[in-house]
């Protein structure tokens, strides 16, 4: 088992040999430094000191531990940090281990992953802070931290297993993304003014492992130690039981959840309108988009997400909502297809090389991939306009409709043009079937997050400078922006086609994983 743990770290180190690995190593080092500072400054001493001086030590400790607990689950289960398939139960079968040893090895490797050391360091900082500035026992504090980290690992593992199984069910990815979105939007509950109605629910949080660990850290006598310790250990046992049960549940077959093979002729007929050279490629890329778990989850959620943000802003900004809507419409069409649009070839593995064996014009696959994203994104604009017409909190005029339509087109073509450059200069080998985790390259992240920030924060800044009457007086500006975006897209397609052929060997190396 020691050799397996060493192997895990050797593989982590091996990943740093490629360019992306070095970038990751740099970022990890940078983050580690920040975490180290955080341990000393905020996570540990400061939190402990503030907690005790304010007289809310237990509450402060619960909040810090609860935040780290949730972060641990998100990092491991949703963002994909931690142990991967090399150490799955099936992969460990190649080693001379019994079933029990494999089980132990898998979880030992899992809990000794660097991510849990980081969390352990932060939580130990808090225990140390409480010990230095208060009357808490360091031994008990460290014991609580250790149990909490193991519980956190098991909870993250249980969530991962649950996601894996639900994602394989028909419509499972969409269900999961709705849940994640709801979880993300929990932060805006205070803005909705319903926080006080949810107060009784907060009592449940006192029964969670982080709250139990916080109480245990501050337990001054046996009477408070025993219940807190029992609660914390119960959390550990429950998490372990959840992992055991979920690991034994059969994984639903993907074959039975796939779409019927005989119903896809309409895509070919539609795509054939684009000509004999592009048509078959376009139909193929449309299938890639429509069968991908991430796109199937994000596409139907794009309009509700943007609608939700608009409703939130309508409450706060009143008549300046139009400015915000212009930004929201610009991001709408791109948001729905972005995970694949910024890296369409990264999902293909060895299939990427087939593009260059086909009797088509150089760059035709790049065009087809981008057309698929533009077509799917464009369908959302009229739907969003109809919804705006039905529910808009401001008077409906032809000028506002034109502005929103033009803004949608601007975002569609501008961001899809940027996505082409990202596909060429920042491809990344990714798993087509994965549902969660950030699988974009560094450049993909910059474009995706940048697009969101630009479209959501930009209008907010603009609304301070340009008021509604001035905005309506310049109704033609979004139209001009759309024309510029279309021109930029056309130029990008033409230049990108040449670059696609010129950079193909480099892209092959990355996408097929030669390096």
């Amino acid at each position: 088992m020691r050799e397996l743990i060493q192997l895990r770290y050797k593989l982590l180190w091996a990943k740093t040999r490629n360019r992306n690995g070095r970038i990751a190593l740099f970022l990890t080092g940078y983050l580690l430094l920040i975490f180290f500072i955080a341990v000393l400054a905020a996570g540990g001493f400061s939190a402990g000191m503030v907690a005790i001086k304010e007289g809310h030590a237990e509450l402060m400790a619960s909040v810090v531990l609860g935040g780290l607990f949730v972060n641990g689950i998100i990092s491991a289960a949703l963002l994909g940090f931690g142990v991967n398939t090399e150490f799955s139960g099936a992969a460990l079968r190649r080693y001379p281990l019994t079933a029990r040893q494999r089980f132990l090895a898998r979880h030992l490797i899992g809990v000794l992953d660097p991510i849990w050391f980081l969390i352990l360091a932060l939580e130990s900082g808090l225990a140390f802070g409480l010990y230095v500035f208060g009357t808490a026992s360091l031994t008990v504090g460290l014991f609580a931290v250790l149990v909490l980290v193991i519980t956190n690992y098991l909870a993250a593992r249980a969530v991962s297993l649950l996601i894996e199984r639900v994602a394989r069910l028909p419509g499972g990815s969409a269900v999961l993304l709705v849940l994640v979105s709801l979880f993300s939007f929990a932060g805006v509950i205070p803005a909705l003014g319903i926080g006080h109605q949810l107060k009784p629910l907060l009592g449940i949080l006192r029964l969670t492992p982080p709250a139990a660990a916080a109480r245990l850290m501050l337990a001054g006598d046996l009477a408070s130690f025993v219940p807190a310790c029992s609660l914390l250990l119960s959390g550990l046992m429950l998490s372990a039981a959840a992992v055991l049960v979920l690991e034994r549940l059969p994984v639903p077959s993907k074959a039975s959840s796939g779409p019927a093979a005989s119903t896809s002729g309409s895509l070919d007929r539609f795509a054939s309108l684009f000509g004999l050279s592009i048509g078959p490629l376009l139909a193929r890329f449309l299938r890639y988009y429509l069968r991908n778990n991430r796109i199937r989850a994000m596409y139907p959620l794009a309009i509700p997400t943007v609608g939700f943000l608009l409703v939130m802003n309508a409450a706060q900004r009143g008549s300046e909502i139009l400015t915000f809507a212009l930004g929201a419409f610009a991001t709408l069409s791109f948001l729905s297809t972005a995970p694949m649009a910024v890296n369409p070839f990264g999902y293909e593995a060895s299939g990427f090389r087939r593009h260059f064996l086909l009797p088509v014009a150089p760059g035709a696959p790049l065009r087809a991939a981008s057309y698929a994203s533009v077509l799917l994104g464009s369908l959302l604009i009229p739907v969003a306009l109809l919804l705006w017409a039905a529910f808009a909190p401001v008077p409906l005029t032809p000028a506002t409709l034109f502005m929103l339509f033009a803004s949608g087109l601007t975002g569609l073509f501008f961001f899809n043009a940027l996505a082409i450059w990202t596909a060429l200069y920042g491809p990344r080998k990714v798993d087509y079937n994965s549902s969660f985790g950030n699988n974009l390259s560094l450049l993909g992240n910059v474009v995706f997050i940048g697009a969101l920030l630009l479209c959501l924060a930009g209008p907010q800044a603009l609304s301070h400078v340009v008021k509604r009457p001035a905005l309506l007086a310049h109704w033609w500006v979004p139209g001009l922006a759309a024309l510029v975006a279309i021109w930029f897209y056309r130029v990008t397609l033409s230049k990108g086609a040449v670059l696609f052929v010129r950079r193909r060997e480099l892209m092959l190396q990355i996408i097929e994983g030669w390096n």
Partner: protein, 259 residues
Amino acid sequence: MSPAMEAISISNLRKNYGSVVAVEDLTLRVRAGTLFGFLGPNGSGKSTTIGCLTGLLDPTSGDMRLFGEPMTPSSAALKRRIGVMPENLALFEPLYAHEFLSFHARIFGLEEDTARRRTAELLEALELTDTRKQLSEFSAGMRKRIAFAAAVIHSPELLFLDEPFESIDPAGVALMKTWLRRFVDQGKTVFLTTHVLDTVERLCEEAAIITKPGKLVWQGDITALSRDGSIKADGCEFDALEPLFLHLTGEKYTQLEWL
């Protein structure tokens, strides 16, 4: 051999990956209408040569022609005349088998009716009739059959097959061999790489052996093996391809006493 009769003509091909030389000064001619075996040890540059010949890779230097025409990444008309089964198969995995073959048929210019008929016939013949599975869910052998079907669906004049028989069951291999023989009988050309030398002996008419890094060490007629029982090369006589291969490539069997 006149250029008109040459399906493949390679002159002084060199391919570098950075500082690594994958193919060095390879010169080779393949007659049209032959089943040609391209042999070499692992890492000797066979797949790289096929990559350069099919427009996938840019050669560092040298000249490559198919049917007398230079091959470049933009040679769409020339690509329509060839079929390629890459070593790593290069499948579009989220597609179903019939979608993948239809895609190939259409993009290689077949009419819709012909595409539909050939797709159905190939799926039936290669026993790829499970319509519920995407390509990623097929076994290694089935995936290889699909890659083979995609390479032949448009009836190419020249077929590149990189390790075509590995992972396929004996019945599938026998079927493919029969097809390949009939294919060549029609005047078409097959350029295949394999490590199974027995197959080359029984199937091919000509063969070439290269050694690291992509250097041609022998090319000749191997029908002499079945006709005369031996081949003469390098001043020696060989009764099979294996001893000839080992002699020319310098590959040795190392004895491990403990094994």
